[in-house]
Each structure stands twice: as structure tokens, then as C-alpha cells.
Symmetry: C2
Subunit: 139 residues, 2 copies
């Protein structure tokens, strides 16, 4: 079972921002701290902004910061937003997918129920619970 | 959040076998019924055999069938086996991945806990609950 690296990086961004809610971060700074592609992070920041998780401001003194209180952003909410275009299995695709079982399938409701439980478990934690100051791990 | 198509097809195979536990299926038959690649199914059948879910027998009168009672194979067990080489996020990779947070990360235990709850929910259902006779869905 996998979350997209898009989601993985999106969560890291929010965890870093949560530690310094007043600071405006640049994508260059985040990319450098996480050692990942700035181009990739830019796309993720745009999606986080679209989801109302961050605000972005252009120009000098601009940057990215959390749009809401860190303790008001649940992990479940983040994952639901960043993963929204991915389907758990074939039949969960928007066009219904190509599986021939269709309405006869008794697996689909069970998978969806398990997925919902996964997300509800993540709803119990917030970005504040996972805030990261940027300090590297002990060697 | 996604399961691999490998896992998706693996579950379909077991659901079909569960409906006819005495019958020996050929991969050609399964591929035809599911309208998927026989080559791909062959690899999945090998992995299901490796996991003790099916037995395979070569030659005339040979084929694939369930190795155990369908009501003794939980969905959680199947997913754990077929998904075992996939990591939920970067740091869950076997080599520890490239995320810089490492031991300072407070997200990882929360993600792993949610994943475990997902799998435990799937442990509550068996392949017998999802057996599919091969009958197509109503038009």
C-alpha cells in the first residue's frame, strides 16, 4: 500500500511550516532542507494552496506559510486532499475502471471501508503533532 | 492511497477460485475471464503460490486452485503478502529511504499505525466473503 511521493513531500512541507508558523519559507529553502527537487515542491505547494493549507505570497518578503493553525489541520485531511486523484484499486477510478466484476464485486465496499478507517485514524493527528524544526537527526 | 495492480489482480484471482474450490483453473481461462494479460497473471499466480494461497499443477488436468479453505484466507493476509515489497512512504523502504527527518520524524509512527488498522480491518473479511462465480454484472 503506497501514498504518492507527492503526498509524502506535501506532508513534510506542512510539518516544517508548522514549526515556524510566522516565518515565510521559500520553496528553494524547503527544497534545500529536504534535499529534494524545487520544481517538484513548487507543484506540491500549489496544490497545498489550492487545498487551503498554505498561503503563498510573491516577491520580496514573500513566501509560503500555513494558512490555518497547525493544530487545526489533521493528517487525514491532508492525505484526502493530496491523494484525491489516485484510486485505491481499478474500480475506484473516476471512469469506473476496467474490472469486469462491477456490481457483483463484494471486495470493493470492504476496501473502501478499510480506506476510510485508515483516513479516520489519521484524522486523530494534526500537523502540530508532527511539527519539525528542521533540525537534522542525531548522527 | 493505492494498492498495486498486482495486488488488485491477485485478489480477483483468489475471489474467482474461492467460488469453485474443487476446479483447477488455467491462467489462460482466468486471463480471458478478467480480460487481463495472461503473462501478468502468471507472475501473480507464482507469488500467490509462494505465499501459500494457491497450489499449481503442471500438465493435463493441472491448473490452479486454492491451497486452503476460502474462509481461512483473510483479505488482510493477502494484501500483506502481495504488497510486501511496497513502502507506504519513503522512510518505510527497506534501505530506510532518503528523507532527512529520520529519527526526528513524528509522522512515521502515525502512518504505520493507520496502515496497521487498515490491514486489521481487512483481516475481518475472507476470500469466502468475496467469492465471485465469474458471472458478469447485469447489463
Amino acid at each position: 500500500m503506497r501514498l504518492a511521493s507527492f503526498t509524502d513531500y506535501g506532508m513534510r512541507i506542512l510539518m516544517r511550516l508548522a514549526s515556524d508558523p510566522e516565518k515565510r519559507f521559500s520553496t528553494a529553502e524547503l527544497a534545500s532542507q529536504f534535499r529534494v527537487s524545487q520544481h517538484h515542491l513548487t507543484k506540491i505547494v500549489q496544490d497545498l494552496s489550492r487545498g487551503g493549507f498554505v498561503t503563498t505570497q510573491r516577491g520580496a518578503g514573500g513566501g509560503i506559510n500555513l494558512a490555518r493553525n497547525a493544530d487545526d489541520i489533521s493528517l487525514g485531511e491532508i492525505v484526502r486532499h493530496l491523494e484525491r486523484r489516485f484510486a485505491l484499486v481499478e474500480c475506484c477510478k473516476e471512469d469506473g475502471g476496467a474490472c469486469v466484476m462491477k456490481s457483483r464485486c463484494r471486495l470493493k465496499p470492504r476496501l473502501l471501508a478499510a480506506q476510510e478507517i485508515f483516513l479516520k485514524e489519521l484524522d486523530r493527528s494534526t500537523v502540530a503533532d508532527c511539527a519539525w524544526s528542521g533540525e537534522p537527526a542525531a548522527a
